[in-house]
């Protein structure tokens, strides 16, 4: 078995400021990797470098593509990277408005991804879109409505449906439950948890919420000031943190 995604000595700076430094890891098929740390620790920058949305100064990201074999994510042409990100990858943004097309219907948002992987039959596309709407617990009769008429939680579920309908092999998620109230959050976590399991997805999830990390991820990387200070099995990192920064993060969780 080969890793699905490998980062080697990945470094990204913004001017003199280091956003992430010397990040090394392998993501194996079926694994969900969580990247945790406080705001400003470099989590989102790292995620964007992994997904090819930002170009690192140093280091490389390789991906084992179903269509092209092992490829260097930052050597791809923009056109091919876009194709990859519509077919084999998904990207769930914290702000659903960035991941959705707000001007077209929910059905079109989901259908667009299906067409990118070759679906052409209008009836089939509509049926699949409707099935996915109900899978993410949105009433089927909202299929023709635009996401502008949806609540924040519904938009996030629509974004998840849009990303997962094409059954990607790898999904990047940036704070997928950030900014949502807790009951909506629980619903999305439950949804993501069951979808990750049933579709055998591999994922890289950025979150500052250690509860979300515990529920969704197999292993964790803890980032501080752009560097990975600790990594390991999720329950081990949370129950027996080794690094001073991780111990501080775990100790800062408010008990309910």
């Amino acid at each position: 078995m080969k890793p699905l995604l490998s980062a080697k000595r990945l470094t990204k700076r913004f001017g003199a400021r280091v956003a992430c430094q010397d990040v090394d890891f392998d993501l194996w098929p079926g694994e969900v990797l969580g990247i945790v740390g406080e705001s400003g620790s470099g989590k989102t920058t790292l995620l964007n470098c992994l997904a090819g949305r930002l170009t690192p100064e140093l280091g490389s990201v390789t991906y084992d593509s179903a269509a092209y074999g092992t490829i260097d994510v930052h050597d791809l042409s923009e056109a091919r990277r876009r194709l990859l990100s519509r077919t084999e990858w998904g990207f769930v943004n914290q702000d659903a408005r960035e991941g959705l097309r707000m001007g077209v219907s929910a059905g079109a948002n989901i259908g667009e991804r299906l067409m990118a992987v070759g679906a052409r039959h209008y009836g089939d596309i509509r049926r699949t879109a409707s099935d996915w709407l109900s899978r993410v617990e949105i009433e089927r009769d909202r299929l023709d409505d635009r996401p502008t008429t949806y609540s924040g939680g519904m938009r996030q579920r629509l974004q998840i449906a849009r990303n997962l309908v094409s059954e990607p092999r790898l999904v990047f998620m940036d704070e997928p439950t950030g900014g949502l109230d807790v009951s909506v959050q629980a619903r999305i976590l439950d949804l993501l948890r069951s979808l990750v399991g049933s579709l055998h997805l591999s994922a890289v999830l950025v979150t500052h919420d250690l509860g979300v990390a515990r529920l969704l991820t197999h292993r964790l990387m803890v980032m501080q000031g752009g560097a990975v200070v600790e990594n390991g099995l999720t329950d081990q990192v949370l129950d027996d943190p080794q690094h001073a920064y991780t111990q501080m993060l775990v100790a800062s969780i408010l008990p309910v």
Partner: protein, 246 residues
């Protein structure tokens, strides 16, 4: 670390997947906690622990509170990170080292070979009790309908009323949650089971039922390591004790 206790009882236990000799071997296991917020204060807990457990054996960890029984059990499961030593598990007809192993190696051992019954259920929001129980077996690719039957069977064996099966266990009593947790841990036929106070919050009737279920696993050839504060439970289940001393 001090003496291994004598064998109290040895069951013949011809299990379905009989393996000669131990299936869990620990050597030189050392574990301390370092608290960075308190000037890197080091708290040594385990030093040079060695033990081995064979199919059909139930090893009880004994010792005063704070001696490190839970730390040892959690280290065996990879939940705590050992400082040094070796924890080897017989997995897929080979020995797998768990100390410093890749997360996916530990997870694979946990999915198929080594189960853990913790004292408390970690509730997953919104997931129905029957699905909480079924999940570990479904993850192995088992048939969903058969898995559900098995989950329901275990829940009824453990006296969880049928009207509760479709509800998430968040609002259940401590004893009910513990029995849901036991059902979840017994749905897969793990060759090795680690038990942390499996009867702690149960009434007498339910305690006897849990002891009976765990005893059946032992007699079927499962290797067990457990912490049992209730001496009656320990006498019924354990055929060897291991003294953990601080």
């Amino acid at each position: 670390m001090s003496a291994q206790g004598g064998r109290v009882r040895r069951d013949p236990a011809p299990g379905p997947k009989e393996h000669d000799g131990p299936v869990l071997k620990v050597a030189g296991l050392t574990k301390s906690f370092v608290v960075h917020a308190h000037g890197d204060l080091a708290l040594p807990v385990l030093r040079d622990v060695a033990l081995a457990v064979s199919p059909g054996e139930c090893l009880a960890l004994v010792g005063p509170s704070g001696a490190g029984k839970s730390t040892l059990l959690r280290s065996l499961y990879g939940n705590y990170r050992a400082d040094a030593g070796s924890i080897r598990v017989h997995h897929d007809d080979a020995w797998t080292e768990l100390v410093d192993a890749e997360p996916r190696t530990v997870l694979d051992v946990r999915r198929r070979t080594m189960g853990f019954v913790s004292q408390f259920l970690r509730v997953i929001p919104r997931v129905a009790t029957v699905d909480v129980v079924a999940e570990p077996l479904l993850r192995l690719g088992a048939d969903p309908a058969e898995t559900r039957d098995r989950a329901e069977f275990l829940l009824s064996l453990l006296n969880i009323p049928q009207r509760l099966w479709q509800l998430p266990p968040a609002t259940f009593s401590g004893g009910e949650q513990q029995r849901v947790n036991i059902a979840r841990s017994l749905i897969v036929d793990y060759p090795i089971l680690l038990l942390d106070e499996p009867t702690a919050s149960l009434d007498a009737g339910n305690r006897d039922r849990v002891v009976e279920l765990i005893g059946q696993r032992r007699d079927a050839g499962v290797a067990l390591v457990g912490i049992f504060h209730d001496t009656g439970v320990r006498e019924l289940l354990a055929n060897r004790v291991f003294e953990v001393s601080p």
